[in-house]
């Protein structure tokens, strides 16, 4: 702690940050543009000027840029000095000379950092009478709109895109007031984090194109804090609604999980909630027509009542995309024995193995954001950019961890980005990427290893054996493999904080075992490594914690025992199992009941469809890949027929007098029931405040105090306004009624603070800039760690891969846009989704044309042939999850013919 004096007042502060960050942490308003808490200072915008005095006697002082100034003991500064205020006003006036007159049609208007700072600095009337410079815009793909005229040349975009996110196709061109930020030529931005440009850009140069399609001002959005459903990381997001449709997703700060940013799949892959395929009314298959017909809610309950009367046996299939509460509700209804996790045998086995490693291996489990602090990273098999994109962004920061020791040694503060950058250039720390084919992290890798999953697992085992000779030995390694194992082992032993990243995406258990063995070996050598494993889907961990059984078991049981009805919860079985198997399973039931929000091949087979809400219309809890339970909150009330799955099931159970001893009315009741049945999940209750939480006796409003159109938006239907819906499940209200002061972090649904309409208002909600949120909770870990370190070496080492004649080993490949089931309903995502293809090593493609016939699991599909030099010979890359690819059961050997 040091003492500094700001405008005559003394403050005690930690001297770790630059002065600007310290001032903002003290909640003092200082205008700024180019500084960003995640990207450090470059001192280019000159907006954060303050006056610095030499000592008490110094009355003149000198103007310095606070973002470039370290905090030192006894420092005397002034933010309010008239001269420095005039300095800032002059600068903003100069900044604005070329800014176009288009705020009314700018998507940033009303949440614009530039507007905030212009007002704060005190410029309001244009005196400059000369012409404005103009620029041509570029086409930047389906997600980002470019409007270069608005640029104020703060350089934040290029610093984020190139330096922070590692993009290469975007840069700054020309000089002085002609500078241009864009691509070399028109085209789709290649980086997976390009959507963050929208939030990083202080003005409207980069805006959200998907949002533009149904644009709504920030103050008109009904917003709620929620959790991204598009991968297992569980990034925090804010979803905004207007007129009954979700308008956009923005990142929500969580100091443990995603920090300031989210990936493009998370930001743009939400359009399925607005899709025409949405199921909004209950549907029943008419006995006469054989078609699905719209029915009312009563019919749904009658349907179940009839089944209950007949004492029907239900088989329930859960979902890794549905909340813990929904899965548990189904489990309560059908009974534990008749409930099956809705994932196939491979996924479930791998998820359970991953959870076992997280719980029992001696490695510690960092949070997503903590992985940025690892100094040596080994990625085993996982193409993180495509399976868990935000992890790639974190790992990119981790690759700079080791080099950052140099500036520290030279007493250059790490926030001084310009100096650090000059010093480090392209220096990267030890970073190993072991995957079947190239990844987007290869550019920062110290070494890469391109092999099929079992060989990667063998190399991992070899690393473990190198670190600790007690670990099982791997035979038949090549010399280069031995050398690589030694290199990785040495770096890991040399590390301050080693990190092992792996996951389930390659569908190979031995990889996870290899990762665990490295962790055990390191522990034996008195190092506590971090282990970070990605899982298949948003709530895979939660589902596996509820039920260890899988779909294949359900299949066996349904065929061997007599069941009357099948209840499928928010799941498309055709993505989980081979088509013929699902058909067989569904044929075994007289009644097929599907609770879902989107029409899909499974709902097409249903006898009864119960419409439930997707994540934006429901409340629930998800458990992410590190075992963190996080609550997501309903954004808006979709009408009476669309309910949470658990609410439907609760009401259905009441009809059948099931679970009589429990009250199951609202979310809190279901959470209580969940932790009664699963005491190890008791942390779920603490993941977020319950429905009784109030501030000053008031609920937290989902709408801003300036929400408009209240008396008009429904007026075309009926001029008398309807009664606003009530929310019995959360501490939030659906209207603007409630506590309009700063929102507590735990239910923070919008960044707004007096004077700060832009996302920069976030500074006000953080205890200190870059730290935790006021009254906030980053979720709660639910993993039971009592058996920690109880794990011993996995001794089974896979055989080395041997290429076969005419037979190729299928290797799953992932695409950020395409592999995920629902995000593909966004137009832009579908546009960027590749056509189904097969990837082969050039050497294996002799005699094959552009289109090849591929035989996978007893079916033949025609696929485009792509060639590469890095995929090992004898292996065939198969993109997973793309539409038309169908479910593939790995490991698989495929046959290819011209």
């Amino acid at each position: 702690m040091v003492k500094i004096n700001i405008d005559g007042k003394d403050y005690e502060v930690e001297p770790k940050d630059n002065l600007l960050q310290t001032l903002l942490s003290l909640k003092i308003d200082v205008p700024y543009f180019c500084w960003h808490p995640a990207m450090g200072s470059v001192g280019s915008c000159r907006q954060c000027a303050v006056k610095k005095y030499a000592d008490e006697k110094d009355t003149k002082g000198r103007i310095v840029m606070s973002c470039m100034e370290p905090v030192v003991d006894g420092m005397r500064i002034s933010v309010d000095d008239p001269e420095v205020k005039q300095f800032r006003a002059n600068l903003i006036e100069l900044t604005m000379t070329d800014h176009p007159h288009d705020c009314p049609v700018c998507d940033e208007g009303g949440e614009c950092h530039l507007q905030d700072v212009t007002l704060m600095s005190g410029h309001n009337y244009r005196r400059y009478e000369y012409n404005k410079r103009t620029h041509k815009n570029q086409y930047l793909g389906p997600f980002i709109n470019h409007e270069m005229n608005r640029c104020i040349a703060c350089y934040r975009c290029v610093r984020f895109y190139r330096d922070y996110a590692g993009g290469r196709d975007f840069n700054v061109f020309a000089s002085r007031n002609r500078v241009y930020f864009g691509r070399y030529e028109d085209g789709v931005l290649q980086n997976e984090f390009s959507g963050n440009l929208v939030e990083v850009c202080p003005t409207g140069v980069f805006t959200d194109k998907i949002f533009k399609e149904h644009y709504t001002r920030k103050w008109d959005l009904t917003t709620a804090p929620t959790i991204c459903q598009n991968c297992s990381l569980g990034c925090n997001i804010i979803a905004g609604e207007r007129y009954g449709t979700i308008r956009r997703i923005t990142s929500r700060y969580n100091e443990k999980v995603n920090g300031y940013f989210i990936c493009d799949r998370g930001r743009f892959g939400y359009e399925y909630v607005n899709s025409d395929l949405r199921l909004r009314e209950p549907l029943r298959r008419g006995q006469a027509s054989g078609q699905l017909e719209e029915v009312d809610q009563k019919t749904v309950f009658n349907y179940f009542e009839k089944l209950f009367k007949k004492n029907a046996r239900f088989l329930g299939i859960g979902s890794p995309r549905a909340s813990l509460e929904a899965n548990h509700a189904l489990q309560m209804m059908v009974g534990k024995d008749n409930f099956f996790a809705g994932v196939n045998e491979v996924d479930q086995r791998l998820t359970l193995k991953a959870l076992q490693i997280l719980r029992e291996s001696p490695a510690e489990v960092p949070s997503l954001r903590e992985t940025e602090n690892a100094d040596v990273v080994v990625v085993l098999g996982e193409d993180v950019t495509n399976t868990a994109p935000m992890l790639a962004l974190s790992l990119r920061q981790a690759s700079r961890k080791r080099p950052l020791e140099l500036p520290e040694k030279m007493h250059i503060p790490t926030w001084n980005e310009r100096a650090v950058d000059e010093l480090l250039q392209d220096e990267r720390g030890p970073f190993f990427v072991l995957t079947p084919t190239e990844t987007k992290l290869d550019d920062i890798a110290t070494a890469t290893y391109r092999q099929v999953p079992q060989n990667i697992a063998r190399l991992a085992q070899a690393v473990a054996h190198y670190i600790d000779p007690e670990a099982p030995e791997v035979s038949a390694l090549t010399d280069s493999e031995k050398a690589l194992a030694k290199q990785i082992g040495d770096e890991l032993l040399n590390a301050k904080q080693p990190l092992i990243v792996s996951g389930t995406s390659l569908q190979d258990e031995t990889l996870l075992e290899g990762a665990a063995n490295i962790a055990i070996a390191l522990k034996k050598r008195q190092k506590t490594p971090w282990i970070f494993l990605t899982l298949p889907e948003a709530n895979s961990a939660g589902l596996a914690l509820l039920d260890e059984k899988n779909l294949n078991m359900a299949f066996e049981k349904a065929l061997s025992e007599k069941y009357d009805a099948l209840i499928v919860l928010e799941n498309d079985l055709y993505r989980r199992l081979e088509t013929d198997k699902v058909d067989k399973l569904l044929d075994a039931f007289e009644h097929i009941i599907v609770l879902h929000y989107l029409q899909n091949p499974t709902t097409d087979k249903a006898n009864l469809i119960v419409p439930v809400g997707p994540f934006t219309e429901t409340d629930g809890t998800m458990v992410n890949n590190e075992g963190r339970a996080q609550r997501y909150f309903q954004v808006f009330y979709p009408g009476d027929t669309i309910k949470e799955s658990w609410r439907w099931l609760g009401q259905i159970m009441a009809k059948g007098n099931l679970q009589k001893e429990r009250t199951l009315n609202n979310l809190d009741d279901f959470i209580d029931a969940l932790i009664q049945d699963y005491p190890q999940l008791s942390a779920v209750k603490d993941a977020a405040p319950d429905a009784s939480f109030r501030i000053a006796g008031q609920k937290i409003p989902r709408q801003s105090h300036r929400y408009s159109g209240r008396t008009s938006m429904q007026a075309h239907i009926n001029v008398s306004e309807p009664k606003p819906p009530e929310d019995p499940d959360t501490p939030m209200s659906f209207t603007m009624e409630g506590y309009q002061g700063p929102q507590p972090g735990a239910v923070l649904s919008r960044y707004w603070y007096p004077g700060w309409n832009s996302v920069q208002a976030l500074n006000k909600f953080q205890i200190e800039v870059g730290g935790g949120l006021h009254d906030g909770k980053p979720g709660e870990r639910v993993l039971d760690l009592s058996a920690k370190e109880g794990m011993s070496y996995f001794t089974q080492i896979p055989e080395p891969f041997a290429a076969q004649e005419n037979n190729f080993l299928g290797v799953p490949l992932y695409h950020i846009f395409g592999s995920e089931e629902l995000s593909i309903h966004t137009k832009g995502v579908a546009e960027l989704t590749p056509k189904p293809y097969i990837l082969l090593n050039e050497a294996d493609t002799e005699g094959l044309g552009d289109q090849v016939k591929v035989q996978i699991n007893d079916r033949t599909v025609e696929l485009e042939l792509r060639k590469t030099t890095v995929l090992p010979k004898g292996a065939a890359g198969l993109p997973v999850g793309l539409p038309d690819m169908g479910a593939i059961k790995f490991p698989v050997w495929i046959k290819i013919s011209g």
Binding site: T134, R150, T216
Partner: protein, 171 residues
């Protein structure tokens, strides 16, 4: 004391002065052009919709009786997909007109808005849009703003230089 008597006397003298009341339905009042009556949406001098769907009128409206949705044509010109005013809630304060950056929304000297059915007081864009520029004849937002629309590319607005060619090394 005297002033009290004087006020009484002066008040009494008003017995003989002219009455200001206009006997409304028989006699129509002459209203100034800036009278705050029925709200209209005006057009640019070139006949296109002035409203750019910026939402500022809706935000300014104390009765929250304006709602609209922005959309854009294929050239990027923004306009309201729908624009609704619930006149049964409107208090004719004129804040919307003050807030409007394009002179699109204007209040007119028409106050005769009575309806037997409240539902008829909900006006949609078709009901609000008039054919002229209203009180402000010459203003054309898109000729001033930097956004390119059909027929006006970058650098063609007022006070704009032609677009910069970043490949031009001489500059």
């Amino acid at each position: 004391m005297f002033s009290i008597l004087r006020s009484i006397w002066l008040t009494l003298l008003h017995t003989f002065s002219k009455r200001f009341t206009i006997q409304y339905p028989e006699e129509k009042p002459k209203l100034p052009a800036r009278w705050r009556g029925r709200i209209v949406l005006t057009r640019d001098p070139d006949g296109t919709e002035r409203c750019v769907a910026c939402n500022l009128c809706a935000a300014a409206c104390p009765a929250d009786c304006i709602s609209l949705q922005a959309t854009q044509d294929e050239h990027g010109r923004r306009y309201p997909a729908f624009f609704r005013i619930n006149f049964s809630r409107c208090i004719f304060c004129g804040f919307c007109e003050d807030a409007c950056p394009t002179y699109a929304i204007q209040l007119t000297p028409d106050f005769e808005l009575a309806e037997y059915d409240r539902q008829n007081l909900v006006f949609e864009k078709e009901d609000l849009l008039i054919d002229g520029p209203g009180k402000y004849h010459d203003y054309n937002f898109y000729r001033v703003s930097g956004l390119a629309i059909e027929g006006k590319d970058k650098g063609e607005a007022e006070h704009e230089d032609p677009p910069i060619d970043i490949h031009d090394l001489r500059a």
